[in-house]
């Protein structure tokens, strides 16, 4: 087990290094710190001195890979690649363009993201699985047909409309909850209602249909017919046999996203004014703050790899045939 985990973590290193090289090529190869400086200083009429000053201020006045002017190890360490890219491995994200420490911002903002994303995720999963089981229970009936048509219609609506429609309908006209805002602790519960509800509803078309297809595939197998033949109740077959055997494909898609819940949802957070990592990322993209975007890319990859490892662990947990070694 320990050996397995160690090996998986070692496998993760080349992937993270690849992510680093890719983002480095994007931000320092294709575009350059000079371009960055010009955007932030505004427009075309920027003097070369102003660009140099901006680069010095933000620590971009270094060569890419090899610093000939440095001494000893400085030749390698005093470079953009080490300072801006490799330091991410130590979770040292550096400073944003406004001078604030990105690491501290992330530490502060991941909690509001989690407070919204966690209930959305678990309530959503329960709702999607329940819908899918309901439809499979009524398979080959009009209920199933109408349900599937409804799901296809729901998945054809852009996520933006769910948010806009939900805000207008539930908050403005019916006044169920405040239209946007955030407060920590129990007093903030009223603010959570709307984003969580909308987050759950917007995913129902895609996910329920996917789970329905999984369950239908299981429902056609021999062991299900045997179970029917020996007189088990349809409920027991559905919940114990079909749900249990569909667990592996469900876990494959579900567990990998759990660590990513920290990053929050871009759309929900920016529409509902939640000060989480999702809105942080959107603000960074719109302000063209490359330092934050690079940090979030690295963090996202790291969390994805953790998700992959968790997925393998979960296989061993639900399926006694799987042994990790």
């Amino acid at each position: 087990m320990i050996a397995y985990l160690t090996r998986r973590l070692l496998y993760a290193l080349p992937i993270l290094l690849g992510v680093n090289l890719l983002t480095f090529a994007l931000f320092f190869g294709i575009s350059s710190p000079d371009d960055m400086a010009r955007i932030h200083l505004g427009g075309k009429r920027v003097t070369a001195e102003a660009v140099e000053r901006w680069k010095v201020q933000h620590g971009y006045d270094l060569p890419n890979f090899y610093n000939a002017a440095g001494e000893g190890t400085d030749k390698v360490t005093q470079t953009l690649f080490v300072q801006k890219s490799l330091k991410l491995f130590a979770l040292d994200f550096g400073a944003a363009d406004d001078g604030r420490d990105i690491g501290r911002e992330i530490g502060k903002r991941m909690w509001p993201s989690l407070v919204v994303a966690l209930p959305t995720f678990f309530l959503g999963l329960a709702a999607y699985l329940a819908t899918a089981l309901f439809l499979v229970f009524f398979r080959n009936t009009a209920i199933d047909t109408v349900g599937v048509i409804l799901l296809v219609a729901l998945m054809s609506i852009s996520g933006l409309f769910y948010v806009i429609g939900g805000q207008v309908l539930l908050a403005k006209w019916w006044q169920w909850a405040p239209i946007s805002g955030y407060a920590p602790g129990f007093s903030g519960l009223q603010f959570l209602l709307l984003p969580v509800l909308i987050g759950v509803v917007s995913g129902i078309g895609d996910s329920s249909r996917f789970y329905r297809a999984l369950f239908l595939e299981e429902a056609g197998r021999d062991y299900v017919r045997t179970a029917h033949a020996k007189g088990l109740s349809p409920f027991r077959i559905l919940f114990r046999h079909i749900l249990g055997n569909a667990a592996i494909p469900i876990l494959t898609g579900v567990v990998v996203v759990i660590p990513r819940l920290f990053l929050g949802s871009l759309i929900l957070e920016s529409f509902f004014g939640i000060p989480g990592l999702g809105s942080y990322t959107i603000d960074a993209i719109q302000a063209q703050d490359f330092a934050i975007v690079r940090a979030m890319v690295f963090l996202g990859s790291l969390l994805y790899i953790i998700g992959l490892i968790l997925t393998d662990l979960s296989y061993a947990w639900v399926d006694p045939r799987v042994r990790l070694q």
Partner: protein, 380 residues
């Protein structure tokens, strides 16, 4: 007679190339009994047929909107004929009444007056507050700057279609070449390709796309001299977005193809071809590719609707098409605060919703019909 000069934007050329490729496929499929039977299965179901008609309607709008030209402007005699800098399309020409009849600001569908009142001096010299009459009836009203909403929505169709199809065009060669190679050769080739797609996959999709779009934007801003018109610039931005979506989106299909090729390469007919000394490249093209073609077709059709929806979200995030390009994302973005106005301005958002919903729903239903007909396992 109106003097015009046909203008071909790069995306037009690519689109017509794509249509030609689809034409060649149809011509070939018609001659094969098998392919004809499968496609007949797609159109056999009522929903499949209806979805195909709706898609055909949208595609014809998109094609009409891709035939671009520039109108001649008055030139003194003896000089070379000059053309307007504004690039128009055949669709623009058909919709001339809607395009040119712009109002001052909002007006409701089929309204005869503008939405807001203003002070007007009447014929007898007194001043009254009333809503001014509009110049032209707009079936779906006008937006904030007085543009016809129906015209905007019809123009947005081309953007959606291009993103849904050109992305696929960029993605397919990568997905096919890498997926087949990984599955067929195994060993270090497989390891390298798997490493590549795990790395790409590990980056959150929207972030990777946004990062690439930011970088492209910087380049476009820095090289204003590359473009001779605003249309060419917006066009390049759209193509860049498709390229970025394609370069980041090939991993899913590549994975599917790798798994299928792994199974195929052990089958007797591949082994036999190898024993006869057929080259690897020929085996892949002649024996493996046709047997994974159903996966490619299904995934292309399935991806389309997702890409059209992704455009809306990306435009909201600020990593979508050029803000001046008519697109559903830009329409939603502009209209999303209008529901909070008094009186409520609902028609721009409702129009964007209806068009996007119709397009995506038709695409989804068509994809379902295609999958049902092409998937040998059927039941899904």
């Amino acid at each position: 007679m109106i003097n015009i000069q046909p203008t071909v934007l790069i995306s037009d050329a690519v689109l017509f190339l794509l249509l030609a490729a689809v034409g060649v496929y149809i011509w070939r499929a018609r001659r094969s009994e098998n392919a004809r039977a499968t496609w007949r299965g797609v159109f056999a179901s009522g929903t499949g047929r209806w979805a195909a008609w709706v898609m055909a309607f949208f595609v014809s709008i998109g094609v009409l909107d891709s035939l671009h030209f520039r109108v001649a402007v008055e030139t003194p005699a003896g000089q070379a004929q000059q053309y307007s800098g504004e690039v128009l399309s055949v669709l623009d020409a058909i919709l001339t009444p809607l395009r040119t009849a712009s109002e001052k600001t909002y007006s409701a569908p089929f309204a005869t007056t503008l939405l807001v009142k203003e002070s007007v001096t009447l014929a007898d010299g007194s001043v009254a507050r009333l809503a001014p009459a509009i110049t032209h009836i707009h079936p779906l009203g006008t937006d904030k700057v007085g543009q016809d909403v129906l015209y905007l929505a019809l123009k947005s169709v081309r953007t959606g279609l291009l993103i849904g199809t050109l992305t696929t065009l960029v993605m397919l060669p990568f997905a096919c070449a890498l997926g087949l190679a990984a599955g067929y050769f195994g060993g270090w080739v497989d390891d390298a390709i798997q490493y590549l797609y795990t790395t790409l996959n590990s980056i959150p999709g929207v972030l990777l796309i946004a990062a690439a779009v930011l970088v492209v934007d910087v380049q476009i801003d820095a090289h204003a001299e590359w473009f001779n018109s605003a249309a060419a610039r917006a066009d390049l931005r759209l193509l860049a977005l498709c390229a970025i979506l394609g370069l980041t989106g090939w991993t899913g299909l590549a994975r599917l193809l790798r798994a299928e090729t792994l199974k195929l390469r052990e089958l007797d007919y591949i082994q036999a071809a190898r024993a006869f000394g057929v080259s690897h490249g020929w085996i892949l093209v002649r024996h493996v590719l046709p047997n994974v073609a159903h996966l490619i077709i299904i995934s292309v059709v399935l991806d389309f609707s997702g890409l059209v929806l992704a455009e809306a979200v990306l435009s909201y995030v600020g990593a979508g098409v050029d803000p001046a390009t008519p697109s559903f994302g830009n329409m939603i973005n502009a209209a999303r605060l209008e529901l909070a106005r008094e009186p409520v301005v609902w028609w721009p958002l409702a129009t964007a919703f209806a068009f996007l919903f119709a397009l995506v729903l038709a695409a989804n239903l068509f994809a379902d019909a295609v999958r049902a007909a092409f998937d040998p396992r059927g039941a899904r």
